[in-house]
Symmetry: C2
Subunit: 358 residues, 2 copies
Amino acid sequence: MTVIKPGGVIGILGGGQLGRMIALAAANLGYRCHIFCPDERSPAFQVAHETTIADYTDMEAIAAFCRCVDVVTYEFENIPSETARAVAELKPLHPGVRALETTQDRLLEKDFLNASGVDTAPYMAFQTREELDVAYKKIGRPAVAKTRRFGYDGKGQTLVRSKSNFDEVMKVTNGTPAILEGFVQFDREISVVVARNALGEVAAFPVSENVHTNHILDTTIVPANIKDVVEAKAKVMATKVANALEYVGVMAVEMFVSDESKQIIVNEIAPRVHNSGHWTIEGAVTSQFEQHVRAICGLPLGPTTAHGNVVMKNLLGADILDYQKYLEDPKAHFHHYGKQDPRPGRKMGHVTWINPEG
Amino acid sequence: MTVIKPGGVIGILGGGQLGRMIALAAANLGYRCHIFCPDERSPAFQVAHETTIADYTDMEAIAAFCRCVDVVTYEFENIPSETARAVAELKPLHPGVRALETTQDRLLEKDFLNASGVDTAPYMAFQTREELDVAYKKIGRPAVAKTRRFGYDGKGQTLVRSKSNFDEVMKVTNGTPAILEGFVQFDREISVVVARNALGEVAAFPVSENVHTNHILDTTIVPANIKDVVEAKAKVMATKVANALEYVGVMAVEMFVSDESKQIIVNEIAPRVHNSGHWTIEGAVTSQFEQHVRAICGLPLGPTTAHGNVVMKNLLGADILDYQKYLEDPKAHFHHYGKQDPRPGRKMGHVTWINPEG
């Protein structure tokens, strides 16, 4: 295992708030960060030691970037696979190509999960209208059609209640590979943010419960309102996934839980630090960002204990303008991602409350 | 009062670990930092949005820097007074010129403290050998001769046990203005890190006890091992000082305490975030660095409550190479300042333990 000592250089593909918060955590441990992002206004650039502004497919820029760093990671999963492979030839890439490629494709991901002994919703691949019809007959209704690649925050998804929705599905998938997923009845969505390092050490944070609005995370609550047995089972599932991928870094495993049956299925995996782990910055002994840095640099993982009951709320668009209210609230920790333009729905910051009731 | 909203630009004079940690805290609140420092290898540059490499007396560079920022602060008190005055003409400077000039000169500082109703050791100014002799007769022995300006970590100080030390004193002071200070018997050194914003809100952190080795801070312990009445009195004294200076920002007031007499005298004031406040990063609800940013930007101050018993230890020189030990310790939070060269005695990082015994 390659250990990148404090003082080394971490390359980060992607310059959004996740890259920014990785860079801030890395700096506390003495690492310098080199951020690679096509957008010159990337929020992560504001706290980076070095920056490269180039497209992810610019292989010369990728090679030059790799020469300047000791290890490479990424803050979003839509890095082109060819880029990831090129990076991995030159420098340690964590999480690795396999984790990235598996999670970039909903079909590969679900096949992998089921092969690892982890349940998912029923699903079937389709591309043509005829295949959709076959899948629809098998999966039943309601169902959700999803493009296999490049979906996030509900994009590329269509609810299928009857065959009358097929036109819309084909318009959205536009002939690209897709899956039809059975609609699963669940009581709550939870996620397990889990870290694994190259030594095989695995550490899961307490399970969080996530509330979405318009397919975007609104609030994370820790501990999740689930039985201990469900919490334990969720962590075992996430650990199984991390081990099966020989994963290195922090990942988030999103799950759906049925309270009565205690059934848990995995919805999706994010091979990166995750919005549902932002509460760890003040709410846990080690933050998910420091944990990610520890994992990818070959350092021991830190303790994941929570400091109590924690609530994290995203600040979208103009929500960020209420900063004064949060700064005056003695229980609140306010975060602003340094983005200048508060477009509606844009993730501008978040607030974390520790023991808000206590 | 000028409010600098999150998203604004903070100018920081000085690029060491204090500037670095201010910049990291500022980034969490969405501020971009522009660091001004003559040394191109400044650790704060690694996390800054913009940097200026120039001498503090380069008034053109200072003016250009001021045009790029919304507010200016500094991480060390030896900023030339002319520079501070020039900055203050162009942009809000916090802490202000008065705080800086008062604390840059041991005589002005002690005169100010006594005028504010805060006790100090007995002292008398001298410059020539004849004046030293007069001061020695008045102050008694042992005494400590200190240059009035540019002293830190024990530099510019000479212990005076008898007249036979006069030669050494005159060699060290070299004809520059100095003071002779009575040697005070004390049981412990404490410091109060206190913040004041332009609205006049004042918030002191729990008092810390500081252990020095070779005149350099080795360990900070919170809470200090002092009676509640001493803790309360120390906070009142620090608040008095902050108010008397109409101070804006975080300052540290170093004090000596006699356990039996409960007497407290102020040793010196640092008009900036301070090594004895590093424990607040994980050990208090608000860190001294975030508090400083809140104060200088006209935001409400945050709560200063400690999370329990806290111990902070500096990592000097080669101490930093023991990082693995600290990363493996579940109670320890490891900080590395990104400096490449672990020269003996150099402040390379620190470790904070929360409830190490609990």
